[in-house]
Subunit: 286 residues, 2 copies
Amino acid sequence: MAQIAYVNGAYVPLSEAGVNIEDRGYQFADGVYEVCLVVDGQFWDEAGHLARWGRSLDALSIRRPISDRALKIVMNQVVRKNRLDSALVYMQATRGVAPRNHPFPGDAVSPSLVLTARRFRLENSNQIAARGVNVITAPDIRWARVDIKSISLLPNILAKEAAQRAGAGEAWLLRDGAVTEGTSSNAWIVNAAGELVTHPKGHAILGGITRETLLHCAASLQIKVVEKQFSLADAMAAREAFLTSATNLVMPVVKIDEKKIGDGRPGPLTMRLREAYIRECRARAG
Amino acid sequence: MAQIAYVNGAYVPLSEAGVNIEDRGYQFADGVYEVCLVVDGQFWDEAGHLARWGRSLDALSIRRPISDRALKIVMNQVVRKNRLDSALVYMQATRGVAPRNHPFPGDAVSPSLVLTARRFRLENSNQIAARGVNVITAPDIRWARVDIKSISLLPNILAKEAAQRAGAGEAWLLRDGAVTEGTSSNAWIVNAAGELVTHPKGHAILGGITRETLLHCAASLQIKVVEKQFSLADAMAAREAFLTSATNLVMPVVKIDEKKIGDGRPGPLTMRLREAYIRECRARAG
């Protein structure tokens, strides 16, 4: 069966799903996106993703292409039309199509909206988590507003490509000596005191929805969390390390730049948090 | 007559010119572009633009979609098919269409190539130059590799929008106290000693093709040029100020953040350089 995409009001085969070459998303990276996880027919953290979607659009002064209520219907439809039970739903909005010119076009230009869905298997993710992933490090050369979930992702893909070439699953980004986050995930360590440490929110990281839910899970498990910068040396010396994202959930990191973290196997606290996260998402969605 | 665009081998009406929603230019800003000026049927600085096109593609490890020889033919055709004599030719290449995933797709994925052309009138540009333009200033929050002419332009359009709202034609960007460049042009001043000052090349500015040709013109006119950083205070105190880009040629700046530069009219050295630039481009193209 051909994959089905949603493009500006219509459901079309993905291979025929197009936008005009003067869409500002194509010429200026003038747009935002979200990736939402669906497991066993239920959206996880849907409210959090929709809230951030709204914040990103507001930050760039892009109008909502459709209401959140209508968007939820499209999100469900794109999963259903692709006959998926567990899926990654990708949604992107841009400022729309206008003759190429840097300033925003007038209000007559409607924003563009596209959605796709593709298969996700929680079992596969669990299998990867059982082994853990390696990360490399790279300089954080991104712009100063990465808290906006924009499609301006060129530095991210360059660092992720470097990671893949090095046999790693992610690159942790270093700015002024601190690990800010990964190219598409937040970065966490468990320090010698058994505390969770992760970079504080602000303009320097994307405030992850999975990150927020995990903070809640940690509190429930009475695990102390410190939101502060940590260095590469801190990460190398950590008991455990992991990353979070909607796609990865809670994913153990077992090596950083070829150095084993702890004993080089997924950490016990990390695995407890992963289980707690999955339980929490199922409970919230149910 | 409908505008005609070139998209991956075909000439099509612009309104029907589309790319797939999974083009990496649309989802990741994974592409590069050039804007070339055609005046009276002749491309200005064509060799310089093609050389930079190649450098940008190489920097991102994107294959050339077609040879430079074939590209020149398409550049000419897109002007001819739009029945233009003077035009701005826009060309963009991206890494191509692949299922959304951060790392580069395999070599089987072909890069995408699109070109458009639209009318340019040198008389209009001359009229604007006779009055000069205002600029505002804004923090330079772009990524650390703006020397690559990528389509990752979100910070640029945000600053240009701010300029337009303030009634200005450009925003000059400030990093660590220095004016780096404009959002789509290089920045220059004439200091008290009558020297031209502009930010040195490197990762912090886009090395303009117009900038290069103007350096040559200045040398011919025996005007001293100093490629070094200058501050906002230096700019405010300058005798003259101007900006350069393929679209603007050499454009006098008469106000910065509402402060008049010199007597608030286009400077004499600036206008001499503008004339020299036009003469040089005509001579090279002829």
